[in-house]
Symmetry: none
Subunit: 215 residues, 4 copies
Amino acid sequence: MNAATSGSSSHEAEGSAIATAEVATSPGRGRPRDATRDAALRNAALEVLAEVGYRALTMDAVAAHARAGKATIYRRWESKLELVIDTCTQLVQRNIPEPDHGSIERDLGEFLSAFATFLSGPIGKAAQALVGELPHEPELAAAFRESFLLPQRDMLRRLIDRGIERGEIRDAAPVDTVVELAGAALIHRLMLTGEPLDQRFVDRLLYDALLPLLR
Amino acid sequence: MNAATSGSSSHEAEGSAIATAEVATSPGRGRPRDATRDAALRNAALEVLAEVGYRALTMDAVAAHARAGKATIYRRWESKLELVIDTCTQLVQRNIPEPDHGSIERDLGEFLSAFATFLSGPIGKAAQALVGELPHEPELAAAFRESFLLPQRDMLRRLIDRGIERGEIRDAAPVDTVVELAGAALIHRLMLTGEPLDQRFVDRLLYDALLPLLR
Amino acid sequence: MNAATSGSSSHEAEGSAIATAEVATSPGRGRPRDATRDAALRNAALEVLAEVGYRALTMDAVAAHARAGKATIYRRWESKLELVIDTCTQLVQRNIPEPDHGSIERDLGEFLSAFATFLSGPIGKAAQALVGELPHEPELAAAFRESFLLPQRDMLRRLIDRGIERGEIRDAAPVDTVVELAGAALIHRLMLTGEPLDQRFVDRLLYDALLPLLR
Amino acid sequence: MNAATSGSSSHEAEGSAIATAEVATSPGRGRPRDATRDAALRNAALEVLAEVGYRALTMDAVAAHARAGKATIYRRWESKLELVIDTCTQLVQRNIPEPDHGSIERDLGEFLSAFATFLSGPIGKAAQALVGELPHEPELAAAFRESFLLPQRDMLRRLIDRGIERGEIRDAAPVDTVVELAGAALIHRLMLTGEPLDQRFVDRLLYDALLPLLR
DNA sequence: CGATAATCGAGACGGTACGTCGAGTCTTTAG
DNA sequence: CTAAAGACTCGACGTACCGTCTCGATTATCG
């Protein structure tokens, strides 16, 4: 679906349900795709998305923002949906550094703060905009989970695993459930209640629920 | 905004940001509204919503489904959004009976099961469809929270309060956090991961996280 | 193709290859077509046509000129071509009064002058714009000939027939050829050479060619 | 505008409004233009023109037909219009041999037949396609008249002039009018009525109108 | 009872965005 | 410098949907 993406990150292409190959006739003839347009378009999409939301985002607006023709967009993405999800997943990669300070309390607190900050930005808004489409767009759902939910969940699990190795976690701790609850609590606040993802909330979540369940 | 709704439930009209008054000119002149059309339209809206989702839901489709004219819809709701939220909130009322068996374990378990079942139905799908619109539609957000989030949260809190009165809950239990986590876990599964809201999940949530945090 | 046309002039619908029935669900339900929009659109089309020519005429421009939506145009005509030909044929009707002064010289002269004036206006420009499409649009060709060429040819023939009855025309006069040459000369000037269709030209055509061939 | 054309026919370049100089930088550096591409492109243009008409003719189609890139076309002609007119005017040259048999009747008849045959071919179709553009493209109009109308008119006039010298033409004959009518009659049939340019028509034109007016 | 007024289904209305396609330009690799 | 290939910007195409308005036909209350 996106030649630029699949071309630039070969090791991820297999894992992603979105960045299917089907294109990237790069060694062929003709003028190659202008890589700067990819970035410009994704950037424009993110700007428009942050300004007006998913539904009010129009392809014309994105094109105008990037001083591009609509055809240049449709050459890369088949629909508004794909443009948006690719734009987001692209930005999700490596935005939250994995903490490792030898303490589950500190690692977990740092991760939650970082993730909360991350979610409070444009990506969070974009993700929210996509939720309503998930049930009717299986490919989007797969990509969304793979690049939005899984990395965060896996990082969280690694944090806890290191705590287990250090003996900080009690034996019967419901690790899976804690991992699920951590993400759920943040996202629920962000998307449903609309309350702020501030440090108070993070602390309460950490010290009232997650840590007590773990140790 | 909705004559039918505000007319039939006068005590809720004040509390709701949606069901504003302006209406129910029933004893006026002219042909009175056909009450059967209200139900038919809401029904049609729900069908279409379940079939194609919020974005692909068109007013023409709803009208056609209900064999009604579009004006008949717009006479009752000001927009597609209002139609959908009213349709949903209407159905939310009194769909989950409040359990009271003298045991926090049993009450909580029953509530979670009932809520999970409820969410797995069309209302859950509809709610998911609305999430993406919340940030850009303050009225919708208010109505959504009031009729979707609050009732469930309040019921949950009452359950726990009764447990406190019975001495089942320990003193320092993080009640607010538990209430928030319960809802968050269910909704996160429903809308984000797409995994089933089955009894196994409910049990795990209950016995691994909620109850341990409470007692 | 055009409900308004075929509905309003039933006796012409059969003769015309363009104004096919297929629509005119007039006695049906729903809001009837606004007849004033027909005129406004045709008027706008003619204005735009005169300004920029056929190729540069865009449906958006016509719609904007008439303060109408594009759908309102496409509801009446299936394409730009149909809009233009219907606009023109509509205006051709009864634009040249048939002279009858009891003299072939005077009748013919008056007719040629009137036709020359008529062709020099917007209809002439529009007709020229359509010529290039005729070979690839059989329906257009039929309509064009029927409403543009035939009326003029028939009127010319009636003029001459009256002259024959009055004994002004010699027996062996090549009436068909004269009729053909009269139209051809005017149209050739208009569309091919671009020279003006002035009185000098009309007189020369009349006294140097047409009358000598007839009497 | 067209290097190839102006290079190959230097004596006509001055007279033509189209074949401007700028030209055949042949002794320059780099790879020389492939002369076979000129013919291939003109040929492709003519084919496409005959198939689908001027409006539906696309540069991509011409390029594909000639297995050429679009740049190869635009290097030679500045626009679609120029390509078409150059293609046509190129083919007009020397397609009608000038008859000279010492008899106005025979010369005129032969010329009319040859011209009718010529018009019935692809050039006639192409010419028709251009008519609608003439009012809005002055350069095209000039080129069209110069290479399409004038040569035929001049040849016709020379024919008649020779007849005058031979004493075949009466003194007061309206030569200009006859010349104009001859061309107009053929073109009118070709482009407007669509009737065939057959020998019957040519004979009728010749013996019923042109010759009687001349002698 | 008749007049008045609001309802109903149906669908036309002005707008706006869609996704496609064509014109003419630019940029690559290959010669 | 030219060739083929094809990406680029721009803008028109014809379609679909939104929310409004207008039609003929009901269906109630009011005078």
